[in-house]
Every structure is written in structure tokens, then in C-alpha cells.
Point group: C2
Chain length 306, copies 2
């Protein structure tokens, strides 16, 4: 598969519907070197998920029954938004752990919303039942090609904007975003996968040499709490190699506070997870190594303006 | 005076100390055309004020007695931060209306802080007494050349980043930021001065053909609540011409909510005031006119992470 051609085609396809998110270089965190950031939490519906959602809906016919998705919150909001923008029905299944702020975000799109007790995997089960019953098209949150290709446009855009870093740090949940990044970069830059110790499906899979189930909890669980890493991501990570590092919930909270206090960027814990690896020393770059951090989600709870 | 040479020199002088703030183009507000934004609320201490503060401190010798400033909050935080960064003492006088979030921001810098009953003008009086008593150097919040020249670096930077707009909308308090913008642009682009109807010192001065005192109140008063427009700004505005428009507090709150909901940028009311003019129709661009909005401050109260 020619990933770069697929991702370039996706970028053209989704361009009218997504935000070209800004980038900057900063020394605001007091680290020993500048950091490049991409503010992808400024994307439509507050996370990179809008890229994969629009790419999927624009890649082929959508059935009359519409779309169905399971989501910790951000993917559901993105799918619901994309469906409305393109005139399709959407049924979204969300686990209780998504929280009130993300549930309200999805409700505002007018999608048919079902809150399911438990975690992401429970919502996915309900979404699959809906798919079987209605013929709606399932949009997987991370383990489907059009999703991963759509997320890959984020790194393609960043390179077009002049990304200079040797190394890009990316938070990992189910692996859609980092899968897209690995697919686009093809080893041209180092990728560091950052997971909370409390939700580390990729780390566990790399140790076990196969995707395995993990327990998920912690402050970023409603965005990064996939029970098992996606196959697409796992194959890319195994083939290309990634550095996999874990961060504590406290380090995530510290990075989240730094993004607000030092740059006035208010993000959810998942959005601060990659930065946490640099600030805490979980990832220590070599002398001269230029680093970049992808800020991926901003749907913080509670919503500060509610 | 060669404003452009002065502003270019200031940009070089302050570069190691300030954030080069990101820019973007967006259709996220559902307006009839794209809008260019500069996210200057990401500047050190959360507003453009850091530019003028560093420029002043780096433009000449600073007395042993240090620095004194009066401020609605943002200027005080910027001066206190710049003083600490450069190793000077700072005494900051803040009116009660600055509010707890801005007062805490200044306290964190370790500056000597005095909270004065009343509004900005009352704090300025106390700062002048301190200056006379101690020999400290007064840094005026908006009506001093090094301040205005420093703020002018914001527009210089934006043009370097590829600003395309015909028209730039800028919120006005005492006139430091728009003064710097007018000084830099020298009529090359149209500038729209946006003030809350509840704090409109420039609008009143343009009507009276001279700076006059106004009453200040409303949701942006702790940032835009100057009782009288600065002479430097007034002369530039009169000589070059600006469109002066007023917006209601409600329109400011609507724009503030849109910046959060549609772009995950959480800003204070002053930071949303220029956008409010576009969203409310207080400023209606011509067909084909390209517009830009300067987002100038992010020190919202209450602090969402406190």
C-alpha cells in the first residue's frame, strides 16, 4: 500500500472541512531546548479525530441508514459533526466514562446518542449490534484504514508547515493518530509513543509481541483508554520501530497545567500526555536532538464556559 | 520618527524573551469569509503586554530602585515577569477590578504588589507616588514610546508570518497595541479599532477631537478600561485614520464562547472583543475584503485550573 499517496489524497479530500491547525516553536516550558508544537486540539470538535471521520465519510458511499460509531468521546463528536456537515444520520455509542463535557459536545451535534455503562470496549459492542441491526456504516475509532489514513494528514500538514524536529512525540490510545503518523513518515523521523502508565495498550503489545488486552484507568482514560491497540498501528509500530515510553498521571497533570499557565492552551489530559514525557524526563532527547510534540485534544472536563 | 526602524530594532531586542505567537486562517466561526487570527494571548504572561515591557527594560539603563507600573492586570504581569527575567526589582500597583486571577498571576512572579481600591486611574496615581518617592522607573501601560514601539512588533511579526488581510481588527483599551499597529502599518492596511460600548476611550476622543475622560465598566474593563486614550495612540489614529466601532458586552461574551467552542482557545473578554465586531456585524467588511483579528489576551477569570 502506498501510504503517502493515500494520505495525500485524503488531505485533498478533507481540506474543505477541517482546520489547518497552527504550529509554533516555544521555550515556554523551561526545557533545555525549544519544542515545536502543533495545536491539533484546535481541530473541528477539539481533536484530530475530525480528520479520520471526514476521510471515511468522503471515501465511499454512505448507506441510507447512516453511520454508527463507538467512542470515548472525541471520535464520537468528530463522527457526529462530520455526519451532520455532510448530511448523514449518525448513531453514537459512548461509555459512561466519556464524561459530561464530551457527552454534551456530541449532543450539540444532534446525533442519536446512547450512553453505555462501562468503558470504550462496551460501547463498541453496542455499536456493532446497531450496525448488524440497521445496516449503518461503522466507523472504527482507530483500527480502520480510512481512519488511520485520515489521521495521517496531520503529520503531512505539519511537514508542509516546516516541521524541523528529528523526533515527534505522540500520545497513544488505540493507535489511530500515531499509526497515521508512522504511515506518513515511513521512518524519516523518529516517533516516540507516549502512553499513561494507566492506559498502555501499545506498550503492552510491543512487550507481548502481539496486541493484548490491558486494564484502563487514570486521568486520560476517556481519550486514551483503548483496551487493545489497533492491528494497523501495531503492524506499523513493529515494522518501523517506535520508542515507547510511559508517563504517570501526575506528570500529565503537570504538563496540562504548564500548557495553560505558560501558553494559555487549555487541553484535556490526553492532549498534554506527549508533552509530559519531555517535561518529566520519561523521554530524554540526545544533545542536539530537535523535538516536537503533537497536542491532540482539548475537550477538557468540566467545560470552563458551562 | 522612523517608526518602522524603531519597531524592527525592538523586535530584535526582545526576540530572546518573547513568544513568536502562531497565526492561522479559519472558517470556524461560520462567517461569510475566512478570518486570519494571531494568537497573541499565547504570549508570555498571557497578553501582548510582554512585548512593550521587555522593550522598555532593554532600551536603556534601569535604576537600582527598579521598576514601577500601574496596571489593570495584564501590563503588571508582563512588567513583573520581564523584571524578574532581567534581574530587576518591580513594584506593581493594581486596581481591585483587576480581579483575583490577574492578581494571582502577578503574585506568582514575586513582584512587590499593591492592590488599590478603584479602577486603573487610581492605581496609576499610586504608582506615580512610588516613582517620586523611590526613583523607580515608571513603565506606562500604553502611553510611552518604548511601550508602543514594543507592541508594534506584534504586527511586524504577523506581516513576516504572511498576513494577507486588507483589514485588521484590534481591541482598544489605552491604545498601546493599536498604536503600535498603526505605527508599523503606516496606512498599508486598514485598521479597525474595536471597543466595548462600556469602555470606549478612543471612540470618545475621536468624537471630541481630543482625548477625554470616559466612564469605564463592563466585562472587559479590567483589560480595556482606560479612562482616557493615550496621546500617542490618539495622534496616530487621527493622522492615519481608523474605523472606530463599538460592541456590546453580550457580543463579546458570544465571541468568547465561539473561540472556545469552535477553536478551543479560552480567552478573556478583551481577547474576544475584536472578533465580536465581526460576529455581531458591528463591523461589516465589503465583498472581497479580507479580514484579520488579533486575539490579544487570555487571562480569564476564574482561572480554569485553580
Amino acid at each position: 500500500m502506498d501510504w503517502n499517496a493515500e494520505i495525500e489524497a485524503a488531505a485533498t479530500r478533507i481540506a474543505p472541512h477541517v482546520q489547518r491547525t497552527p504550529v509554533l516553536e516555544t521555550t515556554a516550558f523551561g526545557l533545555d531546548r525549544p519544542v515545536e508544537l502543533k495545536l491539533e486540539q484546535m481541530q473541528r470538535t477539539g481533536s484530530f479525530k475530525a480528520r479520520g471521520a471526514f476521510n471515511t465519510l468522503l471515501s465511499g458511499p454512505v448507506p441510507e441508514a447512516g453511520i454508527v460509531a463507538a467512542s470515548g468521546g472525541n471520535h464520537g463528536a468528530a463522527v457526529a459533526h462530520a455526519a451532520r456537515a455532510l448530511g448523514h444520520r449518525a448513531a453514537i455509542f459512548v461509555p459512561e466514562m466519556a464524561g459530561a463535557a464530551k457527552i454534551a459536545l456530541i449532543e450539540r451535534t444532534g446525533a442519536e446518542l446512547t450512553v453505555v455503562p462501562g468503558e470504550y470496549a462496551n460501547a463498541l459492542e453496542k455499536a456493532r449490534e446497531h450496525e448488524a441491526r440497521t445496516g449503518a456504516m461503522q466507523i472504527h475509532a482507530y483500527d480502520a484504514l480510512p481512519t488511520v489514513v485520515g489521521q495521517g494528514t496531520c503529520l503531512a500538514e505539519w511537514e508542509e508547515q516546516g516541521l524541523a524536529a528529528d523526533t515527534v512525540l505522540i500520545a497513544v490510545g488505540g493507535g489511530g493518530l500515531i499509526g497515521g503518523a508512522l504511515a506518513w513518515l515511513q521512518g524519516r523521523r523518529k516517533v516516540v509513543a507516549v502512553e499513561p502508565r494507566t492506559s498502555c495498550a501499545l506498550h503492552a503489545a510491543l512487550e507481548a509481541e502481539a496486541p493484548v488486552d490491558v486494564q484502563v484507568s487514570g486521568i486520560a482514560a476517556n481519550a486514551l483508554g483503548a483496551r487493545r491497540i489497533g492491528e494497523i498501528c501495531f503492524e506499523l509500530a513493529r515494522a518501523q520501530g517506535v520508542d515507547s515510553v510511559l508517563v504517570e498521571d501526575e506528570a500529565i497533570a503537570t504538563a496540562q497545567a504548564a500548557l495553560w499557565r505558560n501558553l494559555r492552551q487549555l487541553v484535556e489530559p490526553a492532549g498534554a500526555t506527549a508533552l509530559a514525557a519531555l517535561m518529566s524526563g520519561a523521554y530524554r532527547p540526545e544533545p542536539g536532538e530537535r523535538v516536537a510534540v503533537l497536542v491532540c485534544g482539548g475537550n477538557i472536563a468540566p467545560d470552563p464556559l458551562e
